[in-house]
Amino acid sequence: MKSGQASSVEVTQAHLDRIAAVDGDVHAFLHVDTEGALAQARAVDDKRAAGEQLAPLAGVPLALKDVLTQEGVPTTAGSKILEGWKPPYDATVVQRLKAAGIVILGKTNMDEFAMGSSTENSAYGTTHNPWDLSRIPGGSGGGSSAAISAYEAPLAIGTDTGGSIRQPGAFTGTVGVKPTYGGTSRYGLIALASSLDTPGPCARTTLDAALLHEAIAGYDPMDSTSINQPVPAVVEAARNGDVSGLRIGVVKELGGEGYQPGVEARFHEAVELLTKLGAEVVEVSCPHFEYALPAYYLILPSEASSNLAKFDAMRYGLRVGDDGTNSAEKVTSLSREAGFGAEVKRRIILGTHALSSGYYDAYYGQAQKVRTLIARDFAKAYEQVDVLVSPATPTTAFAIGDRIDDPIAMYKNDLCTIPSNLAGNAAASFPCGLADEDGMPVGFHVMAPVMRDDLCYTVGAALESALAEQWGGVLMTKAPELEVTR
C-alpha cells in the first residue's frame, strides 16, 4: 500500500471476498462489517493520497475477537445472552486500532465469554481449523486464529486469560502473543477473569504480531490495572531476532507423559536450532507449575461468577419471562438459564461454590497461595535464565466433539499456558513445525518476565527466520488450500 501497488480499499475488498468464499466452511466470523471496513479503508486511502504521514499498519485489515466492544457493531462474546447488542462505545484497544488506521473487518467467533479451549462453546456454532476442517482451531479465540490461517485477515486481536491467544495460535500455525498483564488495556473488554484477561495480537509472522502489539499497547488511564511504563521495544526485537548469548530455560515440568510425541519432537528440534544460533539452553525446574491448572480453575470461575453477575436481564442483554407474572429475580434466573451455555453455567456454579462461606479458604484462598508459589517459581527461574520455553500445548488440534463432554481433558489443553497468566508474565506461541502423526501445526512457547515482551519476539524472530530457511517460507505456506465453496 505504501508503494502504491494496492490501495487499502483493494486489499480490504480482497479479504472481504475471501471471507465470502471460505467462511461458510471455517466459520471464523460472527459479524462482517463490510460497509464499515470499506469506509475505514477509503479514509486511509484518502489520507495517503493527501500525503499524510501514516502509522505502519494503516490500511491493513484486521479481525477482532467478539469480546471487545466496537461502537455500533454487534458484540456478543459468543453468547446468546448478548445477541444483537451494539455497544455505545469503543474499547481502548479498538480506539487504538482505529487511530492507527487499521481496518476492522468484523468480529470473530469465540468460546462463550472466552470460556473454553476449542471454540466449540460458542452459542453461534463451532469454528473449524483451516488446516483440517474436521478439527477444532483451539480456544477461546479460535475465530481470530482461524481467520488468519484461512487468509481471511492478515491480523487479528485475541484475548488471553489462560492461553486463549497462544493455544489457538499453536493449533493453527500462527503467531499468538499474550502481552504482559497490564501492558494492553482491558477497558471495553467484556471481562471473564479480571486479574488474568489480556488482549494481544495474532498474526502469521513475528514482525506482523510485533507491529500490531506496538499499535495497541501502552498505558490507559481508563484501566486502573494498566502499567504506566513505555511499551517494550517489540518491533525492534522482531526485526533483530538475535539470540546469541540469550539464556533459555526448558521447563522440566512441561513435557514428558501426556505430551504427543510429534509435539515434543518439533519442540526439541526448535530448542536445538536456538542452541545452534548461539543461545545457552539449560533445563529449569518450576515445581509448582503442576498446580497451576487446579489453581486457575478455582480463580477463573470465582472471578467469572462475579463478573457475569451483571448479566441480570435488567440493563442489557436477553430478557426472558417478563410477562408480568414473574419477579425481577425470577426473570434474571430464567434469562440466565436461557442465555448462558453449559460451560458458562458450569463455571459460574463452580465459582459460586469456591467463594461460598465455609469453602472460601479451602479453595479460593489456597488457589491464591498457589499463585504466589508459581510467581516465585518464575522469579527463581529468571535468576538463571532470560526466558523459559515449553511446547505451547501438550497435543495438536483434536477432532471436533472429541473432548466436549470431558471438561477435565479439555482443561488440560491449557497446562503450559496458564502459569504465565497467573504470574502476569509476557508469553507467546510461535509455529515450529508439523507433528509427524497428524501433520498438524505445533507451537513453541516462550515465557518472558513482566514487561520483557521484547524477549518473546527475539526468540520468535530467530526461530522463524531459521525455520523459514528450511521450509522456504513461514509455516503458513505449508497450509493446505481451502476449497472455495461459494
Binding site: 486502573s224 498446580y291 480453575y297 441480570d312 417478563d322 440466565r336 438459564e337 456454579i349 504466589t372 477435565i408
Partner: protein, 98 residues
C-alpha cells in the same frame, strides 16, 4: 476428597440466579464433582506461611480529577436495554406476590 451432591448444585444454581432443568442437573452434578476433585489438589500444596496473591500486579487505588467529562447520553446508555420507559430502565417488579 471433597465432593458435591446434586442438591448442593441445585442450591448453588439458585444462589447464582440460574434456573437449571432436571436434565441439566443430572449432567452437571457429576461433572462438577469431578472438577472439584481436580481443583481440590490446591489444598495439598500451600502452607500457612505462604501469602496469597490475588493479582499479578501490585494494585493501587487510582484517582482522577473531579471534573466534568463527556459521557454517554441517556439514549446511548439505554440503547441496549430490554425495556425502557421515560429515560429509565424498565424492570419487572422486585417483590413476589407473597
Amino acid at each position: 476428597m471433597p465432593s458435591i451432591t446434586r442438591e448442593e448444585v441445585a442450591h448453588l444454581a439458585r444462589l447464582a440466579r440460574i434456573e437449571l432443568s432436571d436434565d441439566e442437573l443430572d449432567h452437571l452434578a457429576p461433572q462438577l464433582d469431578q472438577i472439584i476433585g481436580l481443583v481440590g489438589q490446591v489444598s495439598q500444596v500451600a502452607a500457612d506461611d505462604i501469602p496469597p496473591t490475588s493479582h499479578a500486579l501490585p494494585l493501587t487505588n487510582v484517582m482522577r480529577a473531579d471534573e466534568n467529562v463527556p459521557c454517554l447520553t441517556p439514549e446511548q446508555a439505554l440503547s441496549g436495554a430490554p425495556a425502557q420507559e421515560g429515560q429509565r430502565f424498565r424492570v419487572p417488579r422486585i417483590l413476589e406476590e407473597d
